[in-house]
């Protein structure tokens, strides 16, 4: 049997509704027979009557109502139709939900599902990766699964964690990424990064859709040049597992951080900053980052492919890093 990344998300949502009557789904176009823009909730409204609610087009209110419902003892799982529109819910997530536990001692158990990242033809406003905007706020966890199993396990755990969680689901991975099953024998806990491939010459830190690109780059580089890249899949950008990153850098002495997001103040900048601050002595060469270009995300597929990192540009950057 072959399952996709979005099958794993659908399955996790179905099990969450089945297992906990405090869970409900809330978002635009998710109910009825339609089941959401990406069909993540297809069939769930019929199976769980009254627990999959359509909302008006009102991202701020979707978030504020979810916050209130969580304070009333529920565990709302919100779907933003696109992560790009999640910025309209950023104030509620950062200033209201994120600040809440510190201010009052009462955590806000909400999960904000964000279909993020680029696809060919997506254009400037249906392609963004906004994890850094949300991770900026204290009190918010930000998960960025890059495998089918992580999509399943991390979404289930996101809802079980009592705090606000931003769950970044990459749209390119939805139907492209496949696995035999969403289950695995020994799933990692949230907060731990994964060594997705072992290698000795350089560490490539990646997350979300950049993980399969980095793995392909590592495979190509090994075949073409004999260099072995160690690929670290962050899994969650907040919490950020510095232990695993630093241990890998200690083994390889070189680090490239790859992110699909814009360069300024992103997760890649955060990782580089922390590795320099905490592990400068481990580095044999300056740390590099590879991000999208400093421009809005373009529409034409050829422009889009050139705008974001891919296996070829990651391999080129790694070759340069190893040459330093």
């Amino acid at each position: 049997m072959s399952v996709t990344y979005i099958d794993a998300i659908h399955r996790a949502l179905e099990e969450l509704l089945q297992e906990d009557d405090r869970v409900f789904l809330f978002g635009e176009d998710i109910a009825g027979t339609f089941g959401g823009a990406f069909k993540a909730t297809k069939g769930l409204a019929e199976k769980f009557p009254g627990r999959v609610l359509n909302t008006p087009i009102a991202e701020d209110a979707i978030m504020s109502v979810a916050i209130g419902a969580a304070l009333g003892g529920m565990k709302p799982v919100v779907e933003m139709q696109f992560a790009d529109f999640g910025t309209l819910g950023l104030n509620q997530m950062g200033n209201n939900a994120g600040a809440h536990f510190f201010r009052t001692g009462v955590p806000v158990n909400i999960t904000m599902r964000m279909p993020c990242g680029g696809t060919p033809g997506g254009g400037p406003f249906h392609s963004q990766s906004v994890e850094a905007l949300f991770a900026h706020y204290p009190g918010v966890h930000v998960f960025t699964p890059a495998t089918v199993a992580d999509a399943y396990y991390m979404l289930k755990q996101a809802v079980q964690i009592p705090d606000p969680v931003v769950f970044m689901e990459h749209k390119f991975l939805y139907r492209w990424l496949k696995a035999d099953s969403w289950e695995e024998s020994d799933p990692l806990p949230i907060g731990s990064a994964r060594i997705a491939r072992e290698g000795e010459h350089a560490t490539v830190v990646a997350f979300s859709a950049m993980v399969p690109e980095a793995l392909k780059a590592a495979q190509d580089l090994a075949e073409q040049s004999g260099y072995e890249l160690e690929v670290v899949d962050l899994r969650s950008v907040k919490p950020l597992d510095m232990d695993t990153i630093l241990a890998s850098v200690a083994r390889t002495g070189r680090m490239l951080v790859v992110s699909e997001d814009f360069p300024w103040g992103g997760v890649a900048a955060e990782v580089v900053s922390r590795v320099v601050a905490e592990g400068m002595h481990l580095l044999d060469a300056p740390p590099l980052r590879l991000t999208s270009k400093e421009s809005p995300i373009p529409y034409h597929p050829e422009l889009w492919r050139a705008h974001r990192p891919n296996a070829a540009s990651i391999a080129d950057a790694a070759r340069y890093l190893i040459s330093l």
Partner: protein, 331 residues
Amino acid sequence: MTRVSELKDAALRAYRAMCTARAFDTKVSALYKAGKIFGGVFLGRGHEAIAACEAVFLEKGRDVYNPFIREMAGRCAWSDDAVLESARSYFGSALGCMGGKDGNVHWGQPLQGVPAPVSHLGAMVGVVAGMMLAKRFRGEKGCVGVACIGDGTTSVGAAHEACNLIAVQKLPVVVVVSNNLFAYSTPNAQEFACASLCDRGRGYGMAAHECDGTDFLQTLATMQCAIAAARAGEGPQWVVATTLRMCGHGEHDDASYIPDSLRQAYADRDPLDIARRQLVEEGWLSEQQDEELNAHIRDEVQRAVAQAQREPVPDPQSLDWTSVSWKPVRA
């Protein structure tokens, strides 16, 4: 509408809350001017009738109440600990419900039905809606949520989104719009162009009510009607209550932008004076009872402020600075 004569008990409780709020506001204003308060001070002077009347029909433990910045009288009507908790909030007491991590009018007790307000106007309307949605999921019936906004907040997108969603979901929410004619310094004419803010409520599909928020008994009857309708399952209600802000936006603000003609109206339209006169006319309050009540309230305020000032302050060394309740256990 309920006859005024049936509202005696609520009227006396609301009046007590109004007097308490005025006494507290007077005290905290003096403390501000004496440099004893860290941040801003925001008074409810002129808003007491609206605030007390909206909250006096609510029940702590059953309903949801989201006070806005001028709702001290509502907080007093909602709960007996309002004066002490407000004093703790202003002094940042470690024993207050915000523990000094937030202050002034931002305090709340979300698990008791009062969400802790953020400063972003309109952001809490949807939170009230969500708390009522949770009650619907949990099968709680006959409960009401009151969300308080001002004339300025009616311009905010968050408030609009939430009001529309409340109406679509037919939630038992009463949105109280206190129109004090100025959003900070901006007069109504620069804030909205509709003839009446009631039209906004009707536009959402809510039942709209209007009252003179300085007329105590009229305000009491209006709030009673709106809250009873929401409680009875008649859907969301929208109340526009007009009043005067008899103070600056905060105590840092001399309100020099308010024209003299309006300032001169304060003397005749003080909701406390009007309430006292109406209660005496109804035969529900004597002047002697009023004096005893206010003497008692002054003592209560004095005691609460003194206690909050004596309490421990938060300690940055021992404070757990974490912003999340969950921490990862690494493999």
